[in-house]
Symmetry: D2
Subunit: 149 residues, 4 copies
């Protein structure tokens, strides 16, 4: 009748984190899906996200990827933070672009992990185009996310 | 009587870019200083910048660093964009922290360049503490920023 | 009767590159497999690859990953070089470890591409353990690898 | 009459590490200078270091940078290993190039640190040209390098 426990824990952990994540909500992000070591987050590029060259500011792309990364690495009931990340920009984005960041786990060992996040945008034909590729390095603080009981 | 031409060009280029940079202004950033291949940008962490763990969202730190990087690499009258960057987080930031990002050029060759950006916060004793270290990879589009004349 | 042309081209390109790659051969690397945008290279850690702490020097792990990356991104009949890469070390390796680097393409657009390389070692039970994760950034020089005809 | 204790400790630590570093010695590296959080290592590109395009294999450049990084971060009498690094290649190197890697510390906090390594080659006019820029992420194991007494 029920979900696998690991998946249920993953969802409860990310729900807890998301409820307090004012930054991601303020940027208009939506949590689309969560799995064990995985997450998907969507965002639309708005007029206040544009840099001096009329493109979406790289910081907003990094923010979207970072949020998906945070969700993916916080699915094991351990408070986990970003130690750092690398992002490569593939194509420029503009106002109105509908972006999706999909984070997947590459490896997790001890208190550290590596997660890949691909940002795509929906193109006119219902397909997806890669916008940026981010790789995050996580560090667990060793504290539970969920309350006992 | 006048500034060195290279410095004057640098300032005019960044002023042009900054005037159109809605994203950086909307995040409350202030352009503090510009030099040839250098820039300094400041930002205060506000309540809407906080993630699910009560810390400043890494995306805002990345945004601050990215803006300083963009200013530094656009000081040569060539429209230059970020190809990507790597950021490492050193300490967590909280609401009210006064942050400064200082971007300096490491190398520039042909259409590519590498810039280092250190983010510090002012501590209680008037000193600076390193918050994050970012390294940006730039790519020039080969177009002038300033209008002729 | 024949291979798909793209795969045949991939193999001929990598064979051409490999025949001149004195460095990879001198380090004892073996080219195990090639596909379009993919490659697999193996190496055993020898006694002269050990650093001051008795571990395999990170430079040799980086070399192995870099060779697999080079093979993967040179499968399209365009001379392609590394613009740079990031590598994270997951576990330490010692003399005798049998390592395999598998490179896969994440995205390729214009003259640039991003490739992921995972290094694993065979553990005692016939399984694989992740040793390092590398991400390479490629740049095509726009010259053919194969001679016409 | 004597060196500052921190510098003396730095030199003894690196001498201890270097004496066991078979990999760096086998690649022909020379330890040129050591300071607290700093190191300089030199290497000449030989014929067995060349890749399939007649250039110095990126793995050897990474190895040189990694050795300088290892020396710089092991100057505090704590066994410290590389968690990872990012390297960007600026110009291609060929056989005979005389390379120098200079590692400097950007930040060190708790058990982690960030070090920048610039590789240069001597040009014909006695000047230096930047060949690659590497940034290393260090992790201390919390064990002393030097024996007590």
């Amino acid at each position: 009748m029920s979900e696998p426990p690991a998946l249920e824990i993953a969802r409860r952990c990310v729900a807890t984190m998301w409820a307090a994540d004012r930054a991601s909500v303020a940027m208009g992000m939506r949590l689309v899906a969560v799995g064990v070591g995985r997450a998907e987050v969507a965002m639309v590029v708005t007029e206040t996200m544009v840099n001096g060259w009329g493109r979406c500011h790289g910081g907003y792309l990094a923010s979207l990827a970072d949020t998906a990364f945070a969700a993916a690495c916080n699915t094991y009931d351990e408070v986990t933070v970003a130690a750092g990340f690398d992002i490569s920009f593939v194509v420029a984005c503009v106002v109105g672009d509908e972006l999706t960041a999909r984070a997947t786990e590459r490896v997790r060992r001890g208190r550290t992990g590596i997660y890949d996040v691909r940002i795509t945008r929906t193109d006119g034909d219902g397909g997806d185009e890669v916008v940026a590729e981010m790789r995050g390095r996580s560090h667990s603080l060793g504290q539970p996310i969920l309350e006992g009981g």
